[in-house]
């Protein structure tokens, strides 16, 4: 499907899945016998337009890796990710230049249409907040400097950071940094947002504000996959919850059902540990 057609399909709201991952496997340090670790062991997931999927699970269960597989920041070793009509595997067609080009174009399509927010913000310290937000639009979407600047201020305004546009990341608090990071992702006008423990590095008094921001975004109809330990948020904002442990999906279902009456033993143990 061409980019234009994919965009159109997304806008038509066919009630179809925005992203479908099938049989995702991922290992690190492949080929190093001792150090090889098989992090994802066949994960499936699908998210429909406007849906909020919350991913929970113990530390090291592979939640971050799963998100990074979806936009191929960490390409999966096996399995496929279907996103707005494209279907990609982690296998790069190295030998055929034409196919290689098509693959690279598809990768760029994924990355420009999937926004990502990180636990540690990952703002670019050598740029002002405004330039952080404008970088993607200028360098990946091809907007002019002026258009990007306008869009950047607009997005910063939306997350309440309009006043801080000229500040450098080191001059911002954690909560402010995360707001800028959210604006940076939204400035790409993504079809899907990935949040990887967006509030885990924040001081307790700043967590609520960011969760509020994410809730507003969900209410505006954004499709989201949210990795979080905030069960209140998961229950209230999440449509479905996916519980992962040791690289597999152990339990999946409606947010309320999974959190209030988990079926699987491991889910129960995890939830009671985290809620106590």
């Amino acid at each position: 499907m061409s980019e234009a057609a994919a965009n159109q399909a997304a806008e038509l709201d066919l009630g179809e899945e925005i992203v479908v991952a099938e049989g995702i496997h991922k290992s690190f340090n492949r080929g190093h016998k001792e150090r090889e670790i098989h992090v994802l062991r066949g994960v499936d997931l699908q998210v429909a337009k406007g849906e909020v999927l919350v991913v929970i699970g113990p530390s090291g269960s592979g939640k971050s890796t799963l998100l990074r597989c979806l936009n191929f920041i960490a390409p999966p070793d096996a399995g496929s990710v279907t996103f707005l009509g494209h279907c990609l595997t982690g296998e790069v067609p190295r030998r055929r230049p034409a196919e290689r080009m098509r693959y690279e174009r598809a990768l760029r399509f994924y990355r420009t249409h999937i926004g990502m927010v990180f636990q540690h913000f990952n703002l670019f310290p050598h740029m002002t907040a405004a330039d952080n937000v404008a970088l993607g639009p200028t360098r990946a979407l091809g907007l002019t400097r002026r258009e990007a600047k306008e869009r950047s201020l607009e997005e910063l305004e939306r997350v309440g950071m309009g006043e801080k546009a000229g500040q450098y990341p080191s001059q911002l608090s954690g909560g402010q940094k995360q707001r800028v990071a959210i604006a940076r992702a939204l400035a790409m006008r993504p079809q899907l947002m990935l949040f990887d423990e967006a509030t885990s590095a924040l001081d307790p008094e700043l967590i609520g504000g960011i969760l509020e921001e994410m809730k507003r975004l969900a209410e505006s109809g954004m499709t989201m996959i949210v990795v979080t330990h905030e069960m209140g948020f998961a229950r209230e904002v999440g449509d479905r919850v996916l519980f992962m442990d040791e690289g597999v999906v152990v339990e999946e279902g409606g947010a309320r059902e999974v959190i209030e009456s988990p079926q699987h033993e491991r889910t129960q143990a995890f939830l009671s540990a985290i809620l106590s």
Partner: protein
């Protein structure tokens, strides 16, 4: 001991030729500047290959650094100026040969410095950039290298100073720099101490000025 005290310093010939010394020093400076620029460009390329994660690229980059770091500048000068002409018939002028030799020597060091600088960055920086859809090149250009530059300025300054001092060897292949002026003085007046003190004084002064420049540059580029 008595000899030492009896020696009468003869600064006259040196002072008479201050303009020649400065002219020679100027040649050392611009030859070094060009070589340093090229060495930085080459060093960035090699560092990027080294960190590419592709064996076919990183292994040669590693070998390049290991070998070039070990070969003395003197050997490069002979290789490039005399050796290349004999082996493949390519004739460099003395200054060209000097620039090539200094660039090769410098690039091994700058490659290591840029590699260290790039590795010092948080992996999240590249990840955030790629997740915005920037290409590999765009990520280096707009995100990684500008941050690396700020880290590597002090060690790069040392490489520059090293190359500037290395440039004093260029008179061996008949580059007419300030050392060649000193050599000539020494032959004509037999005043080695005075002649080479002049070279040392000029170099110390140049290094002082250069260091001040580096400090200013660091201050200008410092992030809030």
């Amino acid at each position: 001991m008595t000899n030492l005290l009896a020696y009468e310093f003869a600064w006259g010939p040196v002072l008479d030729r201050w303009d020649l010394f400065l002219l020679g020093a100027w040649l050392d400076v611009w030859v070094t500047a060009i070589s340093f620029g090229l060495a930085c460009a080459l060093g960035i390329g090699i560092a990027v290959l080294r960190l590419s994660g592709v064996r076919l690229l990183s292994a040669p980059a590693f070998a390049y650094v290991q070998i070039l770091r070990g070969v003395p500048l003197l050997v490069f000068l002979y290789w490039v100026y005399f050796g290349v002409a004999i082996v493949i018939g390519l004739n460099f002028s003395p200054v060209q040969a000097g620039i090539v030799a200094l660039t090769l020597t410098g690039s091994a060091y700058t490659a290591e410095i840029f590699r260290g600088g790039l590795q010092a960055l948080d992996a999240g920086q590249a990840e955030a950039s790629r997740s915005l859809g920037l290409s590999r090149t765009g990520t280096y250009r707009h995100v990684l290298l500008p941050q690396t530059l700020r880290i590597v300025i002090p060690p790069l300054g040392n490489v520059f100073i090293g190359l500037l001092k290395g440039a004093t060897l260029l008179s061996i292949i008949a580059v007419s720099d300030m050392v060649s002026v000193a050599n000539e003085l020494n032959i004509n007046f037999f005043t080695p101490f005075e002649a080479f003190t002049a070279v040392a004084v000029i170099l110390v002064a140049l290094v002082a000025v250069f260091s001040a420049g580096v400090t200013v540059l660091e201050r200008v580029l410092r992030l809030p």
